[in-house]
């Protein structure tokens, strides 16, 4: 996941959706796809969460500091 960008993940998720929509997938594959899709979605979601958290921290630091300037870098 770490190698893929958020956009790539989202794209993949959309492809899965398209494949599923086509209805041509055997069940097992579909389930597999669907499971992949779920994972992707969950991953994207958590990325966004993570980003939001990060921003929050950034802004929080910003707000605090200015005094101590503890800068979180990752």
């Amino acid at each position: 996941m770490s190698k893929k960008t958020f956009e790539q993940s989202l794209k993949q998720l959309e492809q899965i959706v398209e494949e599923l929509e086509s209805g041509e997938l055997p069940l097992e594959k579909a389930v597999k796809k669907f499971e992949d899709g779920i994972k992707l979605s969950r991953s994207c979601s958590s990325k966004l969460d993570e980003i939001e958290r990060k921003i929050t921290i950034l802004l929080k630091d910003q707000a605090d500091d200015v005094v101590e300037k503890p800068f979180i870098s990752d």
Binding site: L10, E14, E21, L27, E28, F34, S41, I55
Partner: protein, 455 residues
Amino acid sequence: MNHRNDSKLQQIYQVSELTANIKSLLEEKFSIIWITGEISNFSKPVSGHYYFSLKDRHAQINAVMFRGQNRRLNFIPENGMQITALGRISIYEPRGTYQLIIEHLEPKGIGALQIAFEQLKEKLSQEGLFDHSFKKPIPFLPQKICIITSPTGAVVHDIIKIATRRFPNLYIQILPVSVQGDHAEKEIADAIAFMNSTLDSDVAILARGGGSIEDLWAFNTESVARAIFSSNIPVISAVGHETDFTISDFVADLRAPTPSAAAELVLPVKMDLLHKIESKKKQLEIFIKQCREQKRYQALELSNRLINPKKTAEDFRLKIDDLCNQMVKTLSYHVKHKFEQLALQKKCLYSTRFHDQVKRNKEILEQNHFNSLKSIDFYITKNRFNLLETTGKMNALNPIAILERGYSITRKITDKKIIKDSETVSIGENLEIILAKGILNCNVEGKSSHVKKDI
């Protein structure tokens, strides 16, 4: 003009020079002479002097007899009168004329005594006994006076009286002599000699009252004349009256007309002298006081004019004060001006746009901050929306949804492999059956390879 008969250079006289020479020559030579002649051209102007000529058969000479002298004559001369005169030659330079100044005059016809007198007089005169050069000065204030005269008679008393009146404190010694008679000549001569040898008189008066030529004869003798001449003490001859002339008169150092006159001639008036001294002293005093006052005045005046430099010093003081005040004023102004300049610059410095710059930058910074927040928010929102949408779509396509319709899925428990063919399982194998709701764990008890198509 060739008057150079000898080798000597002839002197050229000025007229006055020559006349002066002639005058001194003649007047010296003929200082006292007796002359006889006939009077002619007699005149007597208002002045009272007698003017006339004396002549003989071959010559004539002008003569004058002044009033002072002619008053003593007991007769008035007239033209044609034969006279014998005593006088001297005088030169009147302005006219180059000469004339006789007559002192005494008498009608001709003199006696034997007169001749003897004349002869002796001529002789002594020739010898120079009458010469002025031999005449000794009479001391101004004789301390001791010797009177050679007769102790009896008025003469001595007259002299003493007059002398004492003139000068009260006097030392008068009287040498008594006979003044007529046989012993007179010797006594007088001896007295003069005695006086010179013994006494220290300052002056002597040889005196006798008036008388005939015979009475006065002792004073016309040669021994008396020589005694007088050889006297070291000045001798005043005071014999007879004013008109009586004796040899003594001629040879004496001074002739007094009368004995009384001798006292006057020989002594100053003491009071006059004292007055004179006093007056001189007074003059001295006045003068020195004037001199001193004048000098004092000069010194005082100059001292008063001395300018005290204090005034100048005070002026300078004021000037220095002025300059200092000016200096202070100027510098104060200068400093104040600098203060103002500085204050202005300070004010400008504080009010520069520099403050705005900070404020503006702050605003820009805030704006950017705000924009970046907005942007990032946008990013997150957009992506979250996309994700949600896509996830939703996917959820709608969930293959497990068919179970709701009664289908189930059988899987091996071990590898979760969905079983589509009964042949792939063996009896007794445990399988799981996934239902719409829940999962069943089953054991295969039997199997068939056919599927009823009517399910």
